[in-house]
């Protein structure tokens, strides 16, 4: 990575070789996400104080300001036109329809408000859905996604919880996922995001393709390669990046619950989200335990039986209490030392 950064610096200072040029050309034309990250590093270190010029920058500002004024005039004109067209709507609806078919852009400007869809997958269930651009997303338990009905200029969605994306390829229009504290940019890939409000850690698992992960400031944290996992701890702003078997983390979309040397805390929150139950750990020692298991179609009871059989904890179901309105509260389970 550092090599490529010095390549940029050499090009910048006009001290580059022919090989340098063609390497840079490849980087530029491939629209590689890495290129943005490199240039961003350069931007952060670049000091313009050493440069002098007789240039009058205030002229530039004047031009910008006059352009701004021009645009607001046009907007006013457009508003007048729209108001006028509404009044005469009954008479010219057929004409407007034809206009809308021939010049769809005209009508897009009228729709300043975007309509959003919000889909929630409650604890104990998994949902999959198609997005307006043909991409698919799977939501795990206790997760949600929010997206506009129509992707206008860019594809931006917002999620909470855990989601697996199969993004339809479109290099001109990157796909952006916003989750608490981070933003993920992808062009055509398969990746998993886990960003639960209650978790300290946000993780991104890249199954295929390439994605760029950015923090809340939109500074690039990492451009990921497939087969890797990125863990981001928002509180300490620390990042961990390691190679993994992507399948272990993404088979949940096929109904497989996989624990791979997972600590008790993780097992509990995942079981809660997967089955829609409430688990309380009665002995703090139990938090030291780790588990390895794969569950396919097991009920909560079967799963717990299997987990405790090779471990030093036991569980019991609490009596289901009927709440005021006649409904039952979530199944509650207690974990205790054996």
């Amino acid at each position: 990575m550092n090599d490529k950064l010095t390549l940029l610096r050499r090009f910048f200072s006009n001290k580059y070789s022919r090989n340098d040029y063609f390497e840079l050309k490849k980087l530029i034309l491939s629209k590689d996400l890495e290129f943005e990250q490199l240039m961003q590093s350069h931007w952060n270190e670049f000091k313009s104080e050493e440069y002098c010029t007789e240039k009058d920058f205030s002229e530039l500002l004047t031009e910008i300001n006059s352009k701004i004024d021009d645009k607001s005039e046009v907007r006013l004109l457009r508003r007048i036109l729209i108001a006028y067209s509404r009044v005469a709507a009954i008479l010219i609806i057929p004409m407007l329809l034809a206009f809308g078919i021939l010049y769809p852009k005209f009508f897009r400007y009228q729709n300043q408000k975007e309509v959003f869809v919000e889909v929630t997958s409650p604890a104990g269930s998994r949902t999959s859905l198609n997005l307006p651009d043909g991409s698919t997303v799977w939501l795990n338990g206790e997760s949600h996604i929010r997206y506009p009905v129509v992707f206008n200029q860019n594809r931006v969605v917002e999620i909470g919880g855990e989601a697996f994306f199969k993004v339809k390829s479109d290099k001109e229009n990157p796909f952006l996922v916003e989750a608490k504290g981070i933003q993920i940019k992808a062009t055509g890939t398969e990746f998993n995001v886990s960003a639960y409000k209650d978790d300290d850690e946000i993780s991104v698992i890249l199954k295929e393709g390439k994605v760029a992960v950015m923090d809340a400031n939109h500074s690039i944290l990492k451009v990921m390669e497939s087969g890797n996992r990125l863990s981001y701890f928002e509180k300490s702003s620390s990042v961990q990046y390691s190679a993994i078997n992507a399948e272990d983390y993404t088979l949940w979309i096929n109904g497989k619950l996989i624990f791979n040397h997972s600590p008790m805390k993780e097992v509990v929150s995942r079981l809660e989200r997967w089955y829609g139950v409430n688990i309380e750990i009665m002995d703090q020692e139990l938090l030291q335990l780790h588990f390895k298991a794969t569950f396919i179609d097991e009920s909560i009871d079967e799963a717990l039986k299997l987990l405790q059989s090779t471990s030093t904890f036991k569980y019991r179901f609490a009596k289901r209490k009927i709440q005021e309105k006649g409904s039952f509260e979530n199944t509650k389970i207690y974990f205790t030392k054996k």
């Binding site: 050499r10 090009f11 910048f12 200072s13 006009n14 001290k15 580059y16 070789s17 022919r18 090989n19 340098d20 040029y21 050309k25 530029i28 034309l29 629209k31 290129f35 943005e36 240039m39 961003q40 350069h42 931007w43 670049f46 313009s48 440069y51 240039k55 920058f57 530039l60 500002l61 031009e63 910008i64 300001n65 352009k67 701004i68 645009k71 809340a216 400031n217 939109h218 500074s219």
Partner: protein, 197 residues
């Protein structure tokens, strides 16, 4: 010092978000020089650098309602500018293809020349020698080798016989190759061209 700057920025971004023109002007004055020289380094011309500054700040103004004062304006500025700079780079790279083909035709690039010689300097040098061509040859040479016109199109454009055009081209190429070869042997020139990596 750094922390202070971020707080100052935050205050101005707050105001800018509400449409305060003065805050916009302040942020422009503080950041435009860095953006200008940064863009110029990549796009190489004053005109393109100016365009980047204009397009970037214009877009920032247009999207001011979406500003988040908690986030770094410096980083946001880059994010907006990057898209424009990237477009400019792609355009330049595509437009310059003939220039590099010509360099390849005039100079035998071996491992050494491809790696160690200052290519930017070399291209400038080629331009200087082209400048020394007799006017007719120069005109025809540039139309053919840098603008990409065919010999046929040039003959039509300048009302000359195709044979004449071709003769001029051959003469020009010969002139350039000889010039470059003789200079290549000059140690002084080579020294100037060597990159210190």
């Amino acid at each position: 010092m750094e922390i202070n700057k971020l707080d100052i920025d935050k205050a101005y971004v707050h105001r800018l978000k509400r449409g305060d023109k003065q805050a916009f002007n302040y942020l422009f004055h503080y950041y435009n020089k860095k953006l200008y020289f940064f863009a110029k380094g990549y796009l190489k011309t004053e005109k393109e650098a100016e365009e980047i500054v204009q397009e970037t700040f214009l877009k920032i103004w247009e999207r001011k309602e979406f500003l988040d004062p908690e986030l770094s304006f410096h980083a946001y500025l880059f994010k907006i500018a990057f898209n424009f700079i990237q477009k400019g780079l792609i355009k330049n790279v595509k437009n310059d293809e003939l220039k590099h083909d010509l360099a390849d035709e005039l100079i035998n690039f071996d491992n050494h020349t491809s790696n160690m010689v200052n290519y930017h300097f070399l291209l400038q040098h080629i331009n200087q020698i082209i400048d020394k061509l007799p006017p007719r040859q120069k005109e025809i040479f540039i139309l053919r080798k840098l603008d990409g016109y065919s010999a046929q199109e040039i003959s039509e454009k300048l009302s000359l016989a195709t044979k004449t055009v071709e003769a001029h081209l051959t003469a020009a190429l010969k002139f350039l190759k000889i010039r470059l070869k003789s200079e290549k042997n000059s140690d002084l020139l080579m020294f100037a061209l060597i990159l210190r990596k």
